[in-house]
Point group: C2
Chain length 812, copies 2
């Protein structure tokens, strides 16, 4: 089931005709447009497609719209725009919306070229439209008009509203306005419903009505909305009960209006807008290459050709401009879907262009705009704060601090932890206080967040970077040749042993069973040994900060969760080694040893399949940071959650003891409202079992077959069979893991691994070149990773698994 | 002209009735609701208000809606819901939308209690509605239903669409759905037009129609949109030409449906929702006090009472909950407007709840969601990058780097500058490189941005803060006792002289005239003296970073612009003192001496009246940072602009030489689209002369009367007369300045100035307590400041000036 591509060809102008209401004359305007387009310079052909037609639609046209049309839209066009080729995909005989018609009619009146099941899925319908468009494009230069049924939100056959259903096609819209009483409202509301789904309305057409003059108001209104032109034509002649006279009157009407040139000007304008759109797409990568300073990019190695021009994105797919198809003679589409395989830098949850998130954003924008947050509260900020605290099921976390992104949120976490430790242990403000962490960790690009990571490629050339911490080595996990291997690096083996193999991923996470073994003790003892050594060096540490389970930017490193658990255990027991054992925690939810910070920016909120990634370790951090998926992938927002004990550290009668951090848009209403909507949806999906296909068929049974029912549930949308198969390609692959929506493959690299490695780039390039849709991925040195959203279907994942297997073969 | 307060009383349930179309039965449902509300427990009275009525509306009801209603809505309610008190504010006799009716009729049929001009302004109409509601609330517990005219976007009398016009009232909406063919679409689109303006739709009512069954579809759809209940009642009886029989049939219809209890349940549900809304408002500050960790706030000094609960915000006003009015017996409104006097931390440009910005945000969300930005380009990011570069009219700036907020953008600026200097002067990566700046500067709360500021209250207790720079003292500007005084601090007088007085603000900014004097030389010489001294100490500097004209967070300090100009001049001449004079700039747009960074986060984009605040200095910086107003006040986004020469510094064949900075939501489409919309609007306002009332009457003539036409244009929305008057209160006020939309008053403070001072807090408190609307402001120590948006009217500013004068008297 290949993804849908947006409809854009160099030689074919495609427009969608929407009505602001039923009965506004869509078919009449379609007729005008077909005729005017036929006469437009360069047009070799004009086609008209009514994807879905119902008795209702036809009857409406027949009975009420000035009583003119006594045939279906389809046959009306055939008669009055004879030069247009016409087509209907689905026709129902019940006079109501296509949705009801499809459900109620139970049968279809097949048009001769109709090859389909009675109620097409949205995807099937879009695919058919796409095929018609592709055929038309092959036939020559011309125009294609797609006439929708009823109003913009009239449901399509599956029940999905048409505005929603057709949005991924991104055809410019001709909106037929309502010239009757109330028509201003209908037209503007319809316009808005289209616009907020990313449609471009290119033209508004309506009948002249001298009583209401809706066109005057609309003209002014829509000009302000992006110079959308409004055009009127006279109303069609009154009905005549004599069929032949009726047709003659109508033919005369069409001739008269055509001769006024009004519609020709509309077509000219549509042509110009379509031309501008393509020119814009053509020029964008060049202009971007000159104007944009790209993040995390060596621009010397970047050519305009390597910049993807993205026209839009829906669901999991970008629509990427294909310059190689953009020639005057080409009959190939200009846009191609590409799976957003980095989940747009690990942010996507509910997919691109989700109208659920759009509505949440727009509601908050309309209700508040942005409201300054110091000493003030608004509903989305409060509700979100409560919701996320509750969602963590961590009794320690009681406070929510808002910032704008993971990096700023991690800085806040660091400020919190350091102050708490300094306060408890009585260290001076001038004492150098460091962070305990893991090698390869990464917490963001602002200097404070950078300083919490060890020197590495990301920071070594950054002025003012100065790593402030001790970063532990640790055992890692990978699936290699069918086994889940806990690998202990050579230097640690004397302390931690030689590692273990497990039959399944669940066993790796079976912290309670594994805690029984001697391994946990070894891990903890080792950590305490290090702490003691560091203490003897006089070093002071103010917090333990880590990304639970997976170190993302560091290279998708899967850390043995038992080691992270041991690290927390050991630190919490070691106040005597770190600061001062005399100062005891005041209650069960107070921190001990050091505040534990979990950076869940990447790993939290269902990225790995669970609300918190801390739960994989069975650890309750004292501070936790969430961002990225927090807003479902729409816009920046971050929360740093903290315990009451940490919070209390900053309480004082002195204003300057407060946590003096805050951004102008702190807790902006849009972000909070979108995050609420997103978390609601993710939690509902969890509860409803929307991921059961992955949980059960892929992972659960396998795990159960090897162990008792007490094994913790871990799963991925990437199938266990697939992971096993790739892990057996030991010549190419040194290890693979999958968890939640993430898959990471460590490629063997003769040159040695690292951020600068190109080992995974070959696979990446192969996937990017695929036709008729491709996969857009990012790599981290020798690590190839791919990430689905939380809405990606099993089918899509399976297709990508095939692509990946094929890609690995091609690059072996 | 007091601002409008949202309609919320403890004892009065107010709902707005909107129709998904004309002719859907709004008046019939209003009748049902009035009757059911009358019987609802505790209701002492029910009122019905039709703010605007037209012949059209009535005729529509008469002729088409099943041909039932042969009176106006008003008299229909009188007859069939006799227990309701009824009211109409404006009635027009022309059968079309109120807008057209108002324009065309030329006269009004006044209802007895109508006291108004023929076409009321939006404000006058809202004020009347508010008065009716306030009167009703005085009369006892009960209900008020406001029936709108036509569809949701049918224009009101002034031409503003009703959905737009009534949004600030924020009454929950009863949407009367359309049960006819196409009605699903009309109902959903209408719902969306309301929702994106911040309305809460509490209930959807429509007629049963067994042919189309729109209710079934809508029920499912709207449940997903926030559990909005959908209720149907049978269609009213068919028309009867006999008037009496008609009325009898209708009376019977109302009785029958009433007895079904359906509408009682609707009323019960509305009551519950209204109760929940008030309970929510009641509890929010307590809950926030427990859950939120506030930015920049010493929470020990914060009680739930001091937290403002903000229900919504429109234009320049918050709607703030008033707990003191929230008692069972109170007849006072629960929400009060408060002018957003900090422009929500200096962000607001186009006002809260701007549907222009909402639509831009929603369009981008629908078209893209968020699209990852590395090696990719999308239209809003590219167009914005080009637009803002062009807007600066700075030939040096060619590159746009996106981040999420001013702090991250300043960090990026620092990284750029330091690398460029290090590269040119051949300094080692381990050399300590500092920043030149001004005392009291502030660039944000992340560690890197903090490090560029001198130690101060904001950072002195922050772990990992370590100031890295030299910060100059400088002359400041203030209006004192009617004169614009350039004040030179004592220690600088030997170098810079004793300062100057000017007759007008324009003269202070007359850089070209002032450059002729010896002062500029003195300034430059002094700077070079310092540079030489620093050089001798072996200190290395990588950039000059400053906020042009006004240091915001540092206390709204107005720096003598000539000094800032001199600083740039001197630095640009002093490669020999800073690094190495052998390395010459390669072209006119290359930096010399040091890269000059302008932090325009606060001062740019028309905050001070101009697109760039650099233009006040006549300086082209090499790097500039914009945020806050960039999105018109909606959501976080930042651009760091840089010259090609700075950009080239990072070009290399080595990936790790790139500027390795980037946030997940870098260049998020929503932010870019909103910024584009906002800049377009601000630039249009500039060009159209929307601020001429302030430019001309306030400032220009005065300036012209004192000097030639060559004096540069500087102006403020705060009037010169007002500034002068306040400046003369020398007992209370040590200085005042106004520029663009900003006004700052330095209060005399016996305890000594500073961030912890409470001198301005008294004035702030007085303004906060005002009735029936207040002013919400923030203070910076002894500095009281207030800021308008770019849409604030002259009238509003004048009212606030009066308030301020009065407040100063009260606190003297």
């Amino acid at each position: 089931m290949a993804p849908i591509e947006s409809l854009l060809w160099r030689r074919l102008r495609i427009h969608q005709i929407y009505g602001a209401n039923t009965d506004v004359g869509k078919t009449i305007f379609s007729t005008f447009l077909c005729n005017a387009a036929s006469n437009h310079r360069g047009a070799e052909r004009v086609a008209y497609l009514k994807p879905v037609s119902t008795g209702a639609e036809d009857e409406a046209d027949t009975k009420s719209l000035e009583g003119i049309i006594n045939q279906s839209s389809f046959s009306h066009i055939k008669r009055f725009a004879p030069s247009a080729s016409t087509d209907v995909l689905y026709q129902y005989d019940i006079p109501c919306s296509p949705h009801t018609a499809a459900l109620a009619s139970g049968r279809i009146y097949p048009i001769e070229y109709l090859r389909t099941q009675p109620i097409p899925s949205d995807h099937a319908l879009l695919r058919k439209i796409q095929n018609v468009a592709a055929e038309q494009a092959k036939l020559g230069h011309g125009w294609l008009f797609l006439e929708t049924a009823g109003g913009v939100h009239s449901p399509g056959p599956s029940g999905t509203s048409q505005a929603e259903l057709y949005a991924p096609l991104r055809s410019p819209v001709i909106l037929v306005g309502d010239s009757r009483l109330g028509g201003i409202s209908q037209t503007i509301s319809s316009y808005e419903s289209l616009k907020i789904r990313g449609y471009d309305v290119a033209s508004v057409l309506l009948f002249q009505n001298d009583q209401y003059n809706n066109d005057g108001y609309l003209e002014e209104y829509l000009y302000k909305q992006g110079k959308i032109p409004v055009t009127t034509v006279p109303e069609p002649p009154a009905r005549n009960s004599n069929h032949d006279e009726d047709n003659q009157a109508l033919a005369a009407y069409y001739r008269n209006v055509d001769s006024s040139d009004k519609i020709s000007k509309v077509v000219e304008n549509l042509d110009q807008r379509a031309e501008d759109r393509v020119s814009q797409l053509q020029s964008m990568s060049e202009r971007a290459h000159k104007t944009i300073w790209y993040p995390f990019t060596q621009q010397k190695l970047l050519s305009p050709n390597s910049i993807s021009t993205i026209d839009s994105a829906h669901g999991d797919y970008f629509q990427v401009y294909k310059p190689q198809n953009d020639t005057e003679s080409s009959d190939r589409p200009l846009l191609q879907p590409a799976f957003d395989g980095s989940a747009s830098w690990w942010t996507q949850g509910l997919g691109h262009g989700s109208s659920q998130l759009t509505m949440a954003a727009a509601y908050a924008a309309g209700r508040y705009g942005h409201v300054m947050f110091a000493e003030a509260i608004h509903e989305p900020a409060l509700t979100l704060a409560e919701k996320i605290l509750q969602g963590t099921q961590n009794p320690r976390l009681t406070r929510t601090f808002y910032t704008d992104n993971g990096s700023t949120g991690c800085e806040v976490a660091i400020k919190m932890a350091l102050r708490a430790s300094r306060d408890r242990y009585g260290w001076d403000v001038n004492d150098k206080i460091e962070i305990l962490g893991l090698k390869g960790s990464y917490h963001g690009d602002t200097i404070g967040a950078m300083d919490a990571s060890e020197p590495c490629t990301f920071n070594e050339k950054v002025d003012w970077y100065q790593g402030k911490g001790y970063w532990f080595d640790y055992p890692t996990v990978n699936c290699t040749n069918g086994k889940w291997v806990v690998h202990v690096p050579e230097p640690l083996r004397e302390h931690l042993g030689n590692g273990e193999d497990f039959e399944s991923l669940s066993h790796v996470f079976d912290i309670s069973s594994r805690s029984q073994s001697a391994v946990l003790d070894k891990y903890e003892t080792y950590v305490q040994l290090v702490l003691e050594k560091l203490g003897k060096q006089g070093r002071k540490f103010g917090g333990l900060m880590m990304e639970p389970v997976i170190l993302g930017a560091g290279g998708m490193i899967f850390v043995d969760p038992l080691f992270q658990r041991a690290l927390v255990n050991a630190v919490r027991k070691s106040a005597h080694l770190i600061g001062n054992a005399q100062v005891q925690p005041t209650n069960d939810n107070d921190w001990s040893g050091l505040p534990v910070i979990h950076d869940e920016v990447f790993t939290g909120l269902y990225r790995l399949g669970r609300f918190t990634s801390s739960s994989f370790l069975g650890v309750h951090p004292d501070i936790a940071v969430n961002a990225k998926l927090l807003t479902g992938g729409l816009l920046p927002l971050c929360v740093t959650l903290a315990s009451e004990s940490i919070f209390n550290t900053f309480e004082s009668d002195d204003k300057s003891d407060a946590l003096l951090h805050g951004h102008s848009y702190t807790a902006h209403a849009i972000g909070c409202q979108v995050a609420l909507e997103s978390l609601d949806e993710l939690q509902a999906m969890d509860t409803q079992g929307d991921w059961n296909w992955a949980r059960n068929s892929n992972w659960k049974e396998t795990a159960a077959s090897h162990d008792s029912a007490t094994t913790p549930e871990v799963w991925s949308v990437w199938s266990r069979e697939f992971v096993t198969e790739v892990s057996q390609k030991t010549d190419q692959v040194s290890g693979i893991w999958a968890l939640g929506s993430v898959l990471a493959i460590s490629m063997r690299d003769a040159d040695g691994a690292g951020y600068k490695s190109k080992a995974a780039a070959k696979l990446q390039a192969t996937l990017k070149q695929a036709e008729p849709w491709s996969m857009h991925t990012r790599v981290l040195g020798n690590v190839f990773y791919i990430m689905a959203s939380q809405k990606t279907s099993q089918e899509a994942v399976e297709e990508m698994q095939e692509r990946l297997l094929h890609g690995l073969e091609q690059t072996s």
